[in-house]
Symmetry: C2
Subunit: 703 residues, 2 copies
């Protein structure tokens, strides 16, 4: 791990940088990084490589990387695609620790470029030299002054005081856009890294590096898809443990978006649902937009994250208070009422104020700006609010009053430094920066303010205990797979503690009859065949059979008719099971995500899953507490919890079953690759759960 960290550090904070394909012209791709390094006052060695020149931008130029004396931490390769592989080999041979391949013309152009990119991957794997890219715009580390990029968007960043915010992006274009947008909003970066086609170094590894990096306090990531989910999750877990907020922007959230991602060349997009689950589970915030990402980073930089989700609202106009209450509800913040005694104090400060929360201090504050700090003080003193939003709107820049307003909010900040004060204000950048200088979070409109406060709260909310650990990901299964018939599948699940009905696998109608006689109750008869996933469609299910005679008849008919209806299907017997009713049907799915490993899905059966997709996911192995949290997340949960006089279902047994199934899937020795239990019948409290049907897929090539 330390070696891996150092290998990343070799290009994030290099002591020496070679530029292969160096240009004397600072406007060219091979010239701009040199110009940036010179302009930034980079203290390490700058080593231009170009066989046609002896000097580049006033620096000694070398004919080849082999000719460069001393150790080279990082080499930028700025050559036509066809020369890149050879250059990378030379770098590796010369002991260069990492290369940044700016050149495009690899996997992003399709077949033609994939072979060359694979060669780069191989060089990295064989030599240990790290390769970033190809098809990147580079990286910078502002404290180290290493601006290893040709991105025009970086130029203004060179003169700016660095922050502790780091950005890693799979797209160079998007990284430039985020940088430009951040500059507009007054946010500087400490480091900024693009990973492009990811022949070797990937976004997961950089996140993992940044989680450990003492110079980084806030991590932003633009992601199109993650291949190495274990490293990504490890990084998120470490960042969370270190109290570093991680904000991820991943595109491809919707059906149309996934389609677009699939046709976006060299895309890495996997299952968005699983990715989303990983973010929630490991406490990263998933942003919808670059704007949102930047707002959160700006706010998080200010320091303390809110300890809870209790929002106080103070406005100068009643309607805005209602609008903010709408937003609070949508973003999951609560708005406790101001306690009666404090309301009385507010009424003394401003007669006719609305005092309940939202507090409306009316236009009176223009006559007496101290109304602002006195009222805010009352609100904070109640200890009822983790954050307060003060909406001033255009009043924030009333010419004769803005200075007074700034002074009053500044006083509040001094008195309550541990709370958050967000201000909605319109005005010139100069005026807004005065409010920022007073220690407030400043937003133009209510929605970004509330969205940001809610995100900060969630980033600070304690995660489930297991999310601190890195899940073990079994190596992806490359071998043959095999579906089990329902009987076999349920026997396998039973080995992991899942209740199944006391059922028999009969081979003849007579055996089925005998089994039914032993059961002595209403019976279900089902065909057992791994080749028939939809049994009822071929007449392979008979329910509510009341007598052994009926069972025998139905069995005879199935064994006669099904081979005709589905020729070639291997019939492995007839399942004779007691009819079991009186519960709520749920569905549980298990699969192994190629990037993130074991995934468990839970939902209520029928309409909820089929039509509303009211399902919830977890990755890795979950415990009973986490399983309960998962169950409660579904919108239809009240149906299990005793909604409108329904009997309360056995939630404990359901949670135990989910935990057992997750263990069965996560167990490195387990043969289970995927399973769907549908329905899992959840019975009344105390009566447990039972898997009525299941499709299980295992590794192996059949019996």
């Amino acid at each position: 791990v330390t070696d891996l960290r150092q290998s990343i550090a070799s290009f994030v904070t290099p002591n020496s940088v070679a530029i292969i394909g160096a240009s004397d012209n600072p406007a060219r791709i091979g010239g701009r990084p040199i110009a940036y390094l010179l302009q930034a006052g980079y203290a390490g060695r700058i080593l231009p490589v170009n066989p046609t020149r002896s000097e580049v931008q006033g620096l000694e130029c070398f004919a080849s990387i082999a000719a460069v004396p001393g150790e080279v931490d990082c080499a930028l390769i700025v050559l036509p695609a066809e020369k890149v592989v050879a250059a990378a080999r030379e770098c590796a041979a010369s002991g260069v620790r990492s290369v940044l391949v700016f050149s495009s013309g690899f996997a992003e152009i399709g077949e033609a470029g994939i072979a060359a990119q694979n060669e780069l991957s191989q060089i990295a794997a064989e030599t240990g030299m790290r390769i970033v890219g190809p098809n990147i715009v580079g990286a910078f580390h502002a404290v180290n002054r290493s601006f290893l990029t040709f991105s025009g968007a970086v130029a203004p960043a060179i003169g700016v005081t660095p922050s502790t915010v780091a950005l890693v992006s799979q797209s160079g274009g998007y990284a430039g856009y985020i940088l430009a947008l951040a500059q507009e909003r007054g946010l500087a970066f400490g480091s900024w890294i693009t990973t492009g086609n990811e022949a070797d170094v990937d976004v997961a590894e950089v996140v993992d590096f940044l989680a450990d990096d003492p110079g980084t306090r806030i991590i932003l990531a633009y992601v199109e898809g993650v291949k190495r989910g274990d490293i990504f999750m490890r990084g998120l877990a470490k960042a969370r443990a270190a109290g570093k907020p991680v904000v991820v922007l991943k595109v491809g959230r919707t059906r149309l978006g996934a389609q677009a991602a699939a046709s976006h060349t060299a895309s890495l997009a996997g299952s968005d649902e699983v990715f989303d689950t990983v973010c929630r589970q490991f406490g990263a915030h998933r942003a919808r937009s670059a704007e949102e990402m930047i707002e959160i980073a700006r706010a998080a930089l200010k320091g303390n994250l809110p300890a809870g989700n209790r929002l106080g609202v103070m406005t100068v106009s009643g309607g805005v208070g209602v609008q903010i209450a709408d937003l609070a509800e949508e973003y999951g913040l609560t708005m406790p009422s101001v306690p009666a005694s404090a309301q009385a104090m507010l009424s003394q400060i401003v007669p006719f104020a609305a005092t309940r929360n939202p507090v409306d201090i009316t236009a009176q504050f223009t006559n007496d700006p101290t109304i602002i700090n006195r009222s805010l003080d009352v609100m904070f003193e109640t200890d009822c609010y983790d954050a307060v939003v003060l909406f001033l709107g255009h009043a924030a820049s009333f010419p004769s009053l803005a200075g007074h307003f700034v002074a009053t909010v500044s006083e509040v900040r001094r008195k309550h430094p541990d709370r958050l004060l967000a201000i909605c204000a319109l005005g010139s950048p100069e005026i807004l920066s005065r409010y920022e200088g007073a220690g407030c979070l400043v937003f133009q409109g209510p929605e970004p303010a509330i969205a940001t406060l809610a995100a900060l709260h969630r980033l600070n909310a304690p995660g489930p205990a297991h999310a601190q650990a890195t899940p073990t990901i079994a190596p992806p299964w490359g071998g043959a797979t095999r579906k089990l018939n329902e009987y076999e599948g349920k026997r396998l699940l039973a080995q992991y503690g899942i209740s199944v009905p006391p059922e028999t696998l009969a081979q003849t109608p007579q055996e089925a009859r005998a089994a039914a006689e032993r059961l002595g109750c209403l019976v279900a008869l089902k065909i057992a065949s791994a080749d028939i996933p939809h049994k009822s469609e071929v007449g392979g299910v008979a329910l509510d059979l009341a007598s052994p005679d009926q069972v025998e008849q139905a069995a005879t008919a199935m064994l006669r008719d099904i081979p005709v209806r589905q020729p070639g299907a291997r019939i492995e017997g007839l399942i004779v099971a007691p009819m079991i009713g009186g519960g709520t049907e749920c569905i549980v799915g298990l699969h192994r995500d190629p990037a993130f490993g074991p995934v468990i899905m839970f939902g209520l059966g029928g309409v909820a899953v089929e039509l509303l997709r009211d399902v919830t996911f977890r990755v890795g192995r979950i415990d009973v507490a986490e399983a309960l949290a998962m169950i409660r997340e579904t919108r239809c949960f009240p149906l299990l919890g005793g909604f409108r006089g329904r009997p309360r279902c056995d939630l404990d047994a359901l949670a135990q079953a989910l935990a057992d199934l997750s263990a069965a899937l996560a167990d490195p020795g387990s043969a289970i690759l995927a399973a769907e239990i549908n329905p899992l019948l959840v019975r009344q409290d105390g009566a447990g759960v039972v898997a009525l049907d299941a499709v299980v897929e295992v590794s192996g090539s059949g019996d």
Copy 2:
């Protein structure tokens, strides 16, 4: 109606303005409107009234409104609350056509102010003089140069070229905020009107006025609640017929918001669901924020609204294209693929471009800016797109290239003036205004661009035919109301064409037995009592009774036990009905909204309604086509439409029933005030619907 229009015009475009409480100090409330009028070059008469002065700001000042010579269109009342009523009476006596009451201290301060406000309402009703306010910041009409307001936010508006956008707002504070925000975004208003406490003139009437006003092309409304729904709907219908987009911002969308609205003094908030229905039904766009409202107005001002929802996307970075596809899906836009031949042309223009839609022209356009117009031209020529979004991001302001980019998009606009081109661009206001000057809609980020295009499309989508007409609103029912028992209620619904089971109202167990014998099938027995809304809770429902004996026994038990369980409940008989099954249970609700009149609600029964609130509404009387549209809006609609092998339900009969019920409610002669049919059983296609249970409330005081 003409008189009403003229009465509104008297304060929107007055020819003479008196200021009662005129001040020589332009910083004071009584002085600022005069200063604004003078500064604006108002051509009408400015008539200060103040008994203590003979001259105000260089104008002749009158001792009283009675002393003012000639006709006065509009008088501003800028006096302490306690003097307002007398002043209004004087104005009415002097023939003033309208007054704007700036003073606060009326309903917004509670009981103390309500009486005085009611007096103002009465003066308006008795004299015909229109009263705007109290508690307003005023109004302006920029073409008429009548700036009748003391709002500081208006000062910059005086020097700006007016647009055809009008704003009406119930809140003066919010109106000022919107104005300041619009100024920041370069949007001017033509007229700007606040209605405050609405003692007389209300937001509905102003919307109605603006719908007819030839100087207004786009109407924005900030609304806390609408009292006169008929006028509001008439205004929306007229605006739609005239092709004028209406954008409404109404706060109080959520539970928390509604709570806040309820405690927001002098609030008018009604049912948000009904208000939302009215907006959708009459084609108004409901905005979430002032920012959204302004973006839509800016874009709509540019001219053509998109004819369809087909979005083309062109980007300079693949990931952004995916992000925009995500947004398109969320906002209901489609993204048809570029036809193959056009894709080939795009590939010729930019090798390695993604050509399908989103189109990614890669960073090549920095080498050759004509790539932009040539590629856009190919997209528009396909005739596949109503609007194209071009994402340039920070590239839009690359120093040496921005001019070329502006020229290329300008060329595209000239060639395709009937299409919309939206550009996402970062840059200084100067650069962005050059893109705007080229005829593009310019947005900073993708989300406002897509949200705005989607809103413009919906504003242009043809509405249902009936929305062109104004619904008739029966006068609110002030008299006594009465609940019917289930039997009576269903008989009444049957009169309006709703199928009900062939059931009998029996008075004795023997009559019940005889009725069951006549039915000769499985029977349901239910207690008939308007006093027992939840029959099963008192043992008042027995289902699946198989024999006349069972019916008689059950009837005997009910008549014996229920009077004990619910003493005092009037028992009106026993309903003997055939058991009817085999369909999908739906729920239909009818009620009369105090502002908007008849409202019909539809949803699928059970979980969908109870847990997910998957219901949909219409106001007024709906026809069968609209009823079908309503049914299809529910998320659970597929359960009726043949989802996953379920039988298709009788949608025609369901739609007919909804139309009949809406007619029953809207019928001015109808006694029905409210009803809930739950369940309305929808049977297989061709088998109709049947109301299995119903609670009906009628006007009248019992029998």
